[in-house]
Amino acid sequence: MNTSSNLHRSGLILDRRRFLGLSALGISAAALSACGGGPSTSGGGGGASAVEQIDFTGVKPAKEITFWTSNPGDSIKVSTEIVNAFNASQPDITVKLVTAGADYEEIAQKFQTAQTGGDLPDIINLSDVWWFRYKMNDQIIPLDSLFEALEFDTDDYVDSLLGDYLYDDAHWAVPWARSTPLFYYNKDHWKKAGLPEQGPESWEEFGEWKTKLAQASGAKFAFQFPALAGYAGWTLQNNLWGWGGGWSKEESFDITCNSAESVEALSFLKDWVYKDKVAGVAGVDQIQDFAAGVASATVGSTGDLITAITSAKFDVGVAPLPAGPVETEKICPTGGSGVGIPKDISPERQLAAGTFIKFLTEPEQAIKFSEATGYVPIRKSADPAAILKKTPQAQVAIDQLPNTRSQDYARVFLPGGDLEMANHMASILTENKDVQTEMDSLKTALEKIYTDQVKPHV
């Protein structure tokens, strides 16, 4: 019998041409392969529905649960310690810590994929710009009935931080790695420029200082804007609010990024780069650049505090974000991430997850976490003495907390809004594009996101 000749006759010989052709088809198809499962196209999806709190009466907590984190502020060590402490503190629940991404975007991506592919975590670390998307997509549970069942002392959470997760009269997450932006400055450069040993009261005051700094410090920039992905949409809210503008009106989806006030605020900043030539934009990480002496001042998160202090070879100054000409009180946005619980897991797992979240955010753990990372203490009763002893600069972050404002809806409630802002700011600050034109275009993009993706759900 000659099978190969049969194969020849039936045209099944695989020469190199066919091999390449089939490989191409195979590789292309593999590239296309999506995850298992898929959406339903019949019914559902549209319209806001009443929030259903889960009844935990008679539910026994699961024995083993998983906590997904992206280790914000290099927190893997302290998180592991807290998880070990929890596992040792009681015999019923074992928590497994999983690093599920290098940043908030990566963990979000993994969580979104897990929705269709299964294998959901029990506790998820969710950022300020992602939790609402999970809520809209029905992927996380409201936590109020858990608060009740497990007797959380919710009054002890810093009001504005817990309030950030309130929507439809329900809480969708608990604050954890929470931050505010801070103004970081190089005290040596300040001294060389003959400036008072403090941060500026207003951005206009810094506008006057920046030229002195540029001349005296020898640094490449007097001010460096933070890396735009992840920071532009967040920290620039302080500048926009200072000038009476904003990405959107306070507590509203009315987009105001192209208003005269907003455009003036951003033009003021753009001039530092292109007119005065004393400012630039960080490529990868502004805190690393700042610590290397590239810029005299920058804006970063409170979560960068420990990194900045330990990696800089000079005295690091920290100040609250400056005020603007219209909003003359210093005011800054809250930020960072909280922890939530997925919807499509059993009530037993949800209850166990709630038990761990309660432990994770208790004053003792909250302080331990803040001490290790620089994130703000999320509990009112947490005693910051230990943090302040180790890092006196943390006082600035704590003092700034009462002057925080919840972020603009356009950034935190519009899926992808933050990246649109970063992209348009990149055009302005790195390509010298016209501010008004870019903000008009941003408004169009944000309004489209609202109409297509949010309006049907709210």
């Binding site: 292309s28 296309l32 490529g283």
Partner: protein
């Protein structure tokens, strides 16, 4: 010839053929089943998703027919993304092949340490694209990167590799070529070693110098290798994305078709339906390119 004499062998043949076919199926079916489940099912599923308005992670989607395709081709996005894809592919394939051949020619001399040199050149190819991207990002960082320090020492300012889109694309192309050069070099090296020495000697006797020998003997004989490398590197370039996501966080400079599919599907607005449409467009491009290569180019490369 009678009907009886032809009928009996036919019956016997068909019995044997059935058995052969059963054996054939027993060998082939498991593989076909695997390919169908893991390659063709997702392929058709993806084409179906491309007709939906679906947010990744959502349990519900709305059918929009060819709406995603219409949006892509009429919004001006197609022009931008396809241009970037074209520049990235042509530059990376061209440079990888040209430099790969250069390196292979250098390695083809029987010098001590040639094996070590080959391994060194090939090593970046097996590294993770994401890791390579992150490492090079710190080299290219215009403020604290190693490259900016070198440029400063010779009195030059570093380009804005990370924040200026054309420079970002250039940076990604350079790193991609560096990473994949070794693959082309090793394949070319194998091709070079298969070039018959007698042809080169004959050309030498006819008075052809080294340059002439290379262009009139070696290069034409390498054309099947070049063709093979072209097909594989074009396919790889069109699907490169780990390096891109590491080096171009916002996707402003190197937004190729597959990177666009990733950004729109998994970041930005999580538009899985739109992203599936982009993947389908890429699939169509790959199929057309492969067919063109097989039909047009293959006919001209073999010296038989």
């Amino acid at each position: 010839m009678t009907a009886v004499t032809t009928k009996r062998p036919r019956q016997a043949l068909s019995g044997r053929r059935v058995r052969e076919w059963l054996i054939f199926l027993a060998f082939v079916l498991p593989n076909v089943a695997l390919i169908a489940v893991f390659i063709y099912r997702p392929l058709f599923q993806n084409i179906y998703y491309s007709t939906l308005n679906w947010t990744l992670g959502s349990k519900f989607a709305t059918p929009v027919g060819l709406g995603n395709y219409r949006d892509f081709f009429t919004s001006g996005e197609a022009g931008k993304v396809l241009t970037t894809t074209g520049i990235f592919t042509v530059a990376t394939v061209g440079l990888t092949l040209a430099l790969g051949l250069g390196v292979a020619l250098a390695l083809n001399r029987r010098l001590p340490g040639a094996g070590f040199a080959q391994a060194t050149v090939f090593a970046p190819y097996i590294l993770s694209g994401y890791g390579v991207g992150l490492a090079w990002l710190y080299i290219f960082d215009p403020n604290i990167g190693a490259l900016s320090a070198i440029l400063r020492d010779i009195g030059l300012n570093s380009p804005e590799w990370i924040n200026s889109p054309p420079w970002t694309l250039t940076m990604v192309i350079i790193v991609y070529v560096w990473k994949n050069l070794g693959y082309a070099a090793v394949v070319y090296l194998a091709g070079l070693q298969a070039v018959p020495g007698d042809l080169l000697e004959a050309a030498d006797l006819d008075g052809a110098g080294p340059v002439r020998r290379f262009f009139t003997v070696t290069l034409p004989l390498l054309s099947p290798t070049t063709f093979f490398l072209m097909v594989t590197t074009i396919l790889n370039s069109l699907q490169a994305f780990d390096l891109l996501i590491a080096m171009d966080k916002l996707g402003r400079g190197a937004r190729t078709l597959i990177f666009d599919a990733y950004l729109t599907g998994f970041k930005e607005q999580s538009q899985a339906g739109y992203s599936a449409m982009l993947s389908t467009v890429l699939f169509a491009i790959l199929v057309v390119l492969t067919l063109v290569q097989l039909i047009v180019v293959e006919r001209r490369v073999h010296y038989r």
